[in-house]
Amino acid sequence: MEASITLKSLAKKKNNDIILADLSLGIESKSNHAIVGQNGAGKSTILKILAGLIEKDAGTAYINGKDISTRQAETKIVIGYMPQHIDLDNEMTIFENLMIFGRLYGVSNELLKNRILKFSDIFDYKNQLLEYPKKLTPGILRTIQFTRSIIHNPEILLLDEPTSKMDPKNKIKVWEILDTEGKDKTVLFTSQDFDEVEKFSDRISILHHGQIRMDGSLDKLVGVTKGLSKYQIRFKDSVPDGIIDSIGQMPKILKPEINGKILEFYSNERKFFFEVLKEVIMSDISDIDMDFCKLIDLYLGLIGSKVE
């Protein structure tokens, strides 16, 4: 599939901190691409560079094959951008906030009115269209920002944590809209919600220290763990003494840890779990849990706090 967005050796520094370092990435046309990473990993910076809000220090970025630095007008018109923070104008009503933004993209008044009414109906803020943003809750304001990003029906959507602060009902509506209206759009979004990322993205990039550490579909990413599973044994009273030392000696047992009354470890093969179970069978076990590695485990492993 052709790439809608291409980043080549992108670099960005802020003061003396490296935000993005030699970052290259291709985002397929009409796909949902998620970027996950720690706070300050550079997720928002990528979106801001693509939206034309900040200048990159090095590298090139293309949107539909057009360089964003030299063909700004052509690239900006196909983009819809939703920032992470609430940036609505408190001196204008919600309706005016949306109207002005749509007009900046050259959308006719009539079409804008129809789209504003449509989305306000979906997100249930129709009665608040003539209110000022300062009177509304952050959750509703986020849905209005989402509406603003999609109001001109852009080809590419850059969404910075689009569902943060929203209630579960509106979160679902956002993804439903992206599923229907956004079917023929390229969606690049950042998120801290791993369940959402697993559910709604075709491809995921894990960003760490300004570089893409892993990139691919969820199956491909989880596939690299080769069936690695996370095991948990919960004890009634406490975890037996010296258990970490004894199971640490076992082959293919990764990262044994004690969290309160729970013994946690990772392994590719179930037989090693039974080996551990034999070690602790005499203790008072209250529960056993096993789960295949998820994106969150992979992410935590990559950023160095858990499985490597």
């Binding site: 809000l53 007008a73 940036d87 104008d89 001196e91 204008m92 005016e96 002005i100 993209y105």
Partner: protein, 244 residues
């Protein structure tokens, strides 16, 4: 650019009472706290009334102060990372249009302030003018407003902190108010450099109109030329600032 103006108009519409108060109060405050007290101490030659003479100062200072504040406010919103103006920069509107929109809006507001100032000072009978004189005065004052709006935009774009902006504006206005002969006659002992200031020369021209003397348009043309230079500087700075 029309959309930028439309946005400013919507904001204005929601604050119309505030602006009406501002347009009325600024010339009254200048009259009450500058012109009126100074009239007891400053005596002008040839029996010219100081209140009459200082009306020029009232018109120029009121209109330029307002347009300066508005253009600075518009510009400063662009450097606030969490503002609507900042996000507007991701739309296909060019920097030039953002700049022109902001400057034209501040010029419109300054112009309305000028009309209010003229009406108020004329109602105080501190100036007796014919319609043609008023038109000529407006033509002389508009280039001053344009230049000061441009300077306001420059300060708004360049200074990040609100406090720094206030201090710079205060120094700037003290300089403009008292180095251009707006409220204190500077004919005697004025350093030569001040006489070259196009704002000073324009003010002199307006005062000449008030005294039924002849005036020269050259100073206003110089002001327009300087304004264009400032606009170019603003445009260059905007390319750097809007993407920082």
């Amino acid at each position: 650019m029309n959309i930028i103006l439309q946005r400013e108009y919507l904001i204005f519409k929601h604050n119309i009472i505030f602006y009406l108060c501002l347009w009325t109060l600024i010339p009254m405050i200048i009259y009450l706290f500058i012109s009126f007290p100074f009239s007891f101490y400053i005596k002008l030659p040839n029996g010219i009334s100081y209140l009459n003479w200082s009306s020029v100062g009232n018109w120029v200072s009121a209109s330029s102060t307002l347009s300066f504040i508005i253009s600075m406010n518009i510009a400063s919103k662009y450097i606030d990372e969490n503002s609507y103006s900042r996000t507007m920069l991701c739309t296909p509107i060019s920097n030039k249009e953002h700049l022109l929109g902001g400057l034209i809006w501040s010029l419109i507001m300054g112009f309305i302030q000028l009309i209010f100032s003229l009406a108020i000072t004329l109602s105080f009978k501190s100036a007796n003018l014919f319609l043609l004189d008023i038109l000529l005065i407006i033509i002389y004052i508009i280039p001053i407003i344009i230049l000061i709006s441009n300077i306001g935009f420059l300060i708004g774009l360049s200074c990040k902190g609100g406090l720094i902006r206030i201090i710079i504006s205060l120094i700037f206005f003290l300089f403009i108010y008292f180095s251009s002969g707006l409220f204190v006659p500077l004919n005697n002992g004025l350093p030569y450099i001040f006489t070259l200031s196009p704002i000073y020369l324009s003010v002199q021209n307006i005062q000449a109109i008030m005294a039924n003397d002849s005036s020269m348009i050259s100073s206003s043309l110089i002001l327009v030329f300087i304004s264009i230079l400032f606009f170019i500087i603003n445009l260059v700075i905007s390319f750097k600032v809007f993407k920082s």
